[in-house]
């Protein structure tokens, strides 16, 4: 039997299923007697619901039921929750308005859920929805974060005066102010981190089902964390107690964070299934996804960097206004606070940091974690400041970074985090070599001859992954612990099932997790199957996000494998008639020290189950072990991305001509999968930097509600990536893994904009840097140049 070692670039086991169309996604599943749900959504960004007249709609053909917020209230079904408590500067808890699953008295964004129509067919449900008469009292709307706190701005929730959910801060204000007073040079930037719409290939979907015989509910849904969904649905929303509610997240076609959250639609489906006595199915169409999936980013920031006479950074301060949208989504409050400001030290030894964050409600789709979640925003602030500062003080941006890099570990930043390990110089140096930074001047001159402005930009990013030590996050306001669970079930013939609380929706767990088992037990990866995504099979789990499945999820598997090995040694000792202390286990074989006696893993597994060779009163039969692993620290993947870009002076079109990424993810299980994650992440980051603009009109209509206007990155927008790695194994988990899922999306935007600002000679380049935006800058510059002549 062939072992697939840790570090082997094997192809993904799951891909045959996906590529041949054999995956089972939620929408592929149909239940007997199933009905279809269609949500009547608000066409207005802000309105009072004066009256909903269902009389005509209820009489339409095929209609099974129509429910509104009144029915939800009558059933005492709770609202959606935000699971992370943030306190304002004055110690008061955040001010969150209610988040009903069907609107009660008011709608707060275009797409807000007014009613659900359940019918025999989707078409009939839509017909009936058209016959619902809603009397809206339309109110003025506020959409921009920067305008939400203005005097006289429309109030989204009465609970949050001035639309302010919290005004939070971190760091030492006085010390930071002193650092700025003493600074030789201060760099200032106004930064807008553009709102993004996550676009997983599979839209969200749900099927709620009620088993009257057992009084139990089943929910199939597109979730990154089915156990968390069950916990929230049962403990907070009150759908059913946990033992009467099964949540299944089958194959899920991408999430990027957007499928962490518990949304109105799946909650309605599972609640309505019991109420109407039939399975209720809903699948979002792409327009519904644009309108209602939790969006990402949307920060407005004023940031400053203080530098002394030696080119050393002495302080950083920032004031950010974070747009939360119309309601607080499941983890929304943590994103612009503990996932953002705690990373403002970047890779640098910055002695003083102070950051203020105001979170505001607006009449837009809720905003929550999206690939990187807070860390892309932090990296963008830090890396734009550092690049700009270097230019302003006339220092080479790479040299300026080197001068300020953290070099001693562990390193305590002024904003909570303790970086455990890293080698930032190594990744920068390697990236510069791979990118041939030395030859850039020549390439730039050559480009100029072709009418192209060529620029080079760095992003030496850091992120906090492997989320997270439960006690630490608990002290910061998290409502849950962030450990992971695993169970290893060895079958009598030596094949293995891994039950994991992690959830794969594109990450390749069926392969990487199997590689770990293969290398530990000496069995083929084909003899390992990964079971995930079903609360009836896996006891508990916290799911997949924050690049945690390797560092936390696999660590739990590793711990369980330790126990399997220990127990198997006991069984082997009986089989080999030797003392347990003399048994060695290596390459799938148990041997007795100093002899040639050996038995393979499969035989030991069989003996564990037949239990003929040992006394079951002394040693329990069977071979099954579990573990709950709680990490001791975050992990800190870091690296250096270098973007080289050319701007066509005539059209403003930017083309990325070279991309170099050198990442330190600690130990790597499957380099091919890791590289794929890096590619995807960069593509998403480039999307944010160059293409993806989310545009609402002033009255809250989403202009970019389809691919006709929302530009997703395509293959031809991207160069072939040069990907390299450096390795400092993570000391805080048994496998030395840091995580790789978000790095590209975190690093890329700053690298692109740093390259563009280099090319254009101005720091004022917005995201997305569309052809129109870049041409406008070039046109303004040439006008100014003509005026100066």
């Amino acid at each position: 039997m062939t072992v697939t070692a840790i570090g082997a670039a094997v192809r993904r086991k799951e891909d045959h299923r996906f590529i041949t169309g054999k995956g089972q996604y939620t929408d592929d599943i149909n239940r007997p007697g199933q009905t279809h749900a269609y949500f009547l959504r608000s066409p207005h960004a802000h309105a009072n619901l004066k009256k909903i007249d269902l009389s005509k709609a209820k009489a339409m053909p095929g209609v099974v039921a129509i429910y509104t917020g009144d029915d939800v209230a009558a059933d005492k079904i709770g609202g959606l929750i935000c699971g992370w408590m943030i306190h304002s500067k004055d110690g008061t808890p955040m001010r969150a308005g209610p988040h009903p699953i069907l609107a009660q008295g008011k709608v707060r964004y275009v797409g807000d859920h007014v009613a659900v129509v359940i019918a025999e067919t989707l078409s009939q449900a839509k017909d009936a929805a058209e016959a619902i008469v809603v009397d809206y009292d339309v109110l003025p709307a506020v959409v921009e974060a920067g305008k939400a706190q203005a005097k006289g701005a429309p109030q989204v929730h009465t609970e949050a005066p001035a639309n302010t959910v919290y005004d939070w801060h971190i760091g030492d204000k006085a010390a930071t102010e002193a650092a700025f007073k003493a600074a030789k040079h201060v760099t200032k930037l106004d930064i807008v981190n553009n709102r993004l719409v996550p676009n997983a290939m599979e839209p969200r979907a749900a099927i709620g089902e009620y088993d009257a015989g057992n009084d139990a509910l089943t929910l199939h849904t597109t979730s990154q964390n089915p156990h968390v969904a069950r916990l929230v649905l049962s403990a907070f929303i009150g759908i059913a107690p946990e033992h009467k509610l099964r949540v299944i997240a089958p194959d899920v076609g991408g999430g990027f964070g957007s499928k962490i959250f518990i949304y109105a639609e799946e909650t309605v489906c599972v609640w309505a299934a019991r109420k109407c006595g039939r399975p209720v199915k809903w699948t979002a169409d792409r327009t519904e996804e644009f309108l209602c999936v939790a969006h990402g980013r949307d920060h407005v920031t004023r940031a400053e960097l203080a530098i002394d006479a030696d080119g050393k950074i002495t302080g950083l301060r920032a004031k950010t206004i974070a747009n939360m949208g119309a309601y607080l989504s499941t983890f929304a409050s943590s994103v612009p606070t503990y996932l953002y400001a705690t990373l403002l030290s970047g890779q640098y030894a910055i002695p003083n940091i102070y950051c203020e964050v105001d979170a505001v409600y607006t009449n837009t789709a809720p905003v929550d974690a999206y690939r990187g979640a807070g860390r892309p925003e932090a990296t963008f602030v830090v890396e734009r400041l550092v690049e700009t500062a270097a230019r302003e003080i006339g220092m080479d941006p790479a040299a300026f970074r080197r001068r300020n890099f953290i070099t001693k570990f562990p390193h305590q930043t002024p904003v909570i985090m303790t970086y455990d390990c890293g080698d930032y110089k190594a990744s920068l140096t390697k990236a510069m070599e791979m990118a041939d930074v030395k030859g850039f001047g020549k390439r730039r001159r050559e480009a100029a001859r072709r009418g192209k402005l060529r620029g080079l930009g760095y992003s030496t990013y850091i992120e906090a992954c492997g989320i997270a030590p439960s006690q630490a996050v608990g002290s910061l306001g998290a409502g849950v612990g962030l450990w992971e669970s695993a169970e290893v079930r060895v079958n009598p013939v030596g094949t293995v099932e891994i039950l994991t609380g992690s959830h794969s929706h594109g990450q390749g767990h069926e392969t990487t997790f199997a590689q770990l088992v293969s290398s530990r037990l000496g069995i083929s990866i084909d003899n390992v199957s990964i079971v995930h995504g079903d609360t009836d099979k896996v006891q508990f789990g916290m799911g997949t996000y924050g690049s945690r499945s390797g560092a936390v999820g696999m660590s739990a598997i590793s711990k369980a494998l330790d126990k399997i090995e220990a127990k198997a040694k006991k069984v082997a000792a009986h089989v080999l008639e030797a003392a347990e202390a003399d048994i060695d286990f290596k390459d799938g074989k148990f041997t007795v020290k100093g002899t040639d006696k050996a038995v393979d893993f499969g035989t030991v597994a069989l003996n564990a189950y037949i239990a003929h060779k040992f006394n079951p009163q002394e040693l329990e039969p069977g071979l099954k072990e579990g573990s709950f692993y709680d990490p001791t620290n975050f992990t800190f993947p870091a690296g250096c991305h270098i973007c080289e870009i050319e701007v066509d002076q005539e059209t403003g079109v930017a083309r990325i001509v070279k991309w170099t990424a050198v990442d330190d993810f600690g130990n790597v299980i499957n380099p091919m999968i890791v590289e794929g994650q890096v590619h995807g992440g960069i593509a998403q980051g480039v999307g944010q930097a160059l293409l993806e603009g989310t545009v609402y009109t002033a009255d809250g209509q989403l202009v970019t509600a389809s691919y006709m206007d929302y530009a997703m990155p395509r293959a031809h927008d991207l160069p072939s990536f040069e990907v390299g790695m450096t390795v400092t194994p993570c000391p805080s988990n048994p496998l030395g893994i840091k995580g790789c899922g978000e790095a590209g999306a975190i690093a890329a935007p700053a690298a692109v904009i740093n390259a563009l600002t280099d090319a254009l000679g101005t720091e004022d380049v917005p995201m997305p840097a569309t052809p129109l935006a870049l041409w406008s800058i070039i046109a303004k510059q040439s006008k100014a140049a003509i005026a100066a002549e």
Binding site: E650, L691, T704, M708, D709, P771, L772
Partner: protein, 265 residues
């Protein structure tokens, strides 16, 4: 989508008679414009008349023209040796419409009948002086396109083919919308003898148009330099989140120069 009756016409005559007597009919070609609007419930024809079996597809050279049947897909035009040989610019244009799925369903007849102000074909028809053949008559391109999404077609009239005179030189350059890949500005230039035509799609506030100032300058000398200093009034341009009217006006000049350069390369 609302319920509708589906009918397949076996001939153009049959399609015309269905068009006359069916309740709220619509012709169905590739369906790439029509079906999405029906799915979104923005259009609700009661009858769909499918033209796929009406014998309207095919490409042939007739004298000094290339004649393309209305139901010919973009992929067929792009890959046709006849088109590639006689009017390579037209083959290239067709090869850059949408994506492979769109090119294998979308048809020239549907595109021309729809007259989307950002579509590519209208520029080719205008610049090449094409003639639209219908079930009733022959309509010169200039008279056919009548502003955004509007054409000279009667309610009961069907496009059967489009005839493109073969130019001596031609090129099409498209500045695509970063999201949809339709044209923000698309310029088709064609030279036939001393006659030069420049047609612009995507940019104008009233759909495809001919750029007479450019045509005159290029008739004197067919060279990109001839276009320098020729302004396009922004007041006549379309503006949206992707491109302001000023930007489009500027791009018309840039893209036209690139098209002439490509035609003379």
């Amino acid at each position: 989508m609302y319920p509708f009756k589906y009918q397949k016409a076996a001939t153009v005559r049959g399609a015309v008679s269905l068009l006359k007597k069916a309740e709220e009919p619509k012709l169905l070609a590739g369906g790439h414009t029509l079906l999405p609007t029906m799915k979104q419930r923005l259009a609700s024809p009661k009858t769909l008349i499918d033209l796929s079996a009406a014998g309207l597809s095919g490409i042939e050279q007739k004298g000094r023209s290339i004649v393309i049947g209305a139901m010919t897909t973009h992929a067929e035009v792009a890959n046709s040796p006849v088109v590639q040989q006689a009017i390579p610019a037209l083959a290239k244009l067709a090869g850059h419409i949408g994506d492979p799925q769109v090119r294998h369903r979308g048809t020239i007849g549907g595109s021309v009948a729809n007259n989307d102000p950002a579509a590519d074909y209208p520029a080719a028809l205008m610049a090449l002086g094409a003639v639209v053949h219908t079930s009733k008559r022959k309509i010169p391109a200039e008279e056919f396109f009548a502003g955004m999404f509007s054409t000279a077609l009667d309610e009961d009239e069907i496009i059967t083919k489009v005839a493109f005179p073969i130019p001596s030189k031609a090129a099409y350059v498209k500045f695509p919308n970063p999201a949809s890949r339709y044209a923000i500005v698309g310029v088709f230039v064609a030279k036939k003898g001393s006659n030069v035509r420049v047609a612009v799609t995507g940019a104008g506030s009233n759909g495809v148009f001919r750029h007479e100032a450019m045509e005159q300058a290029l008739a004197k000398r067919f060279n990109p330099k001839s276009l320098e200093g020729i302004a396009t009034p922004a007041a006549d341009m379309n503006g949206d989140i992707h491109a302001s009217a000023d930007y489009r006006a500027h791009l018309v000049g840039v893209i036209a120069r690139r098209a002439v350069a490509a035609a003379t390369a």
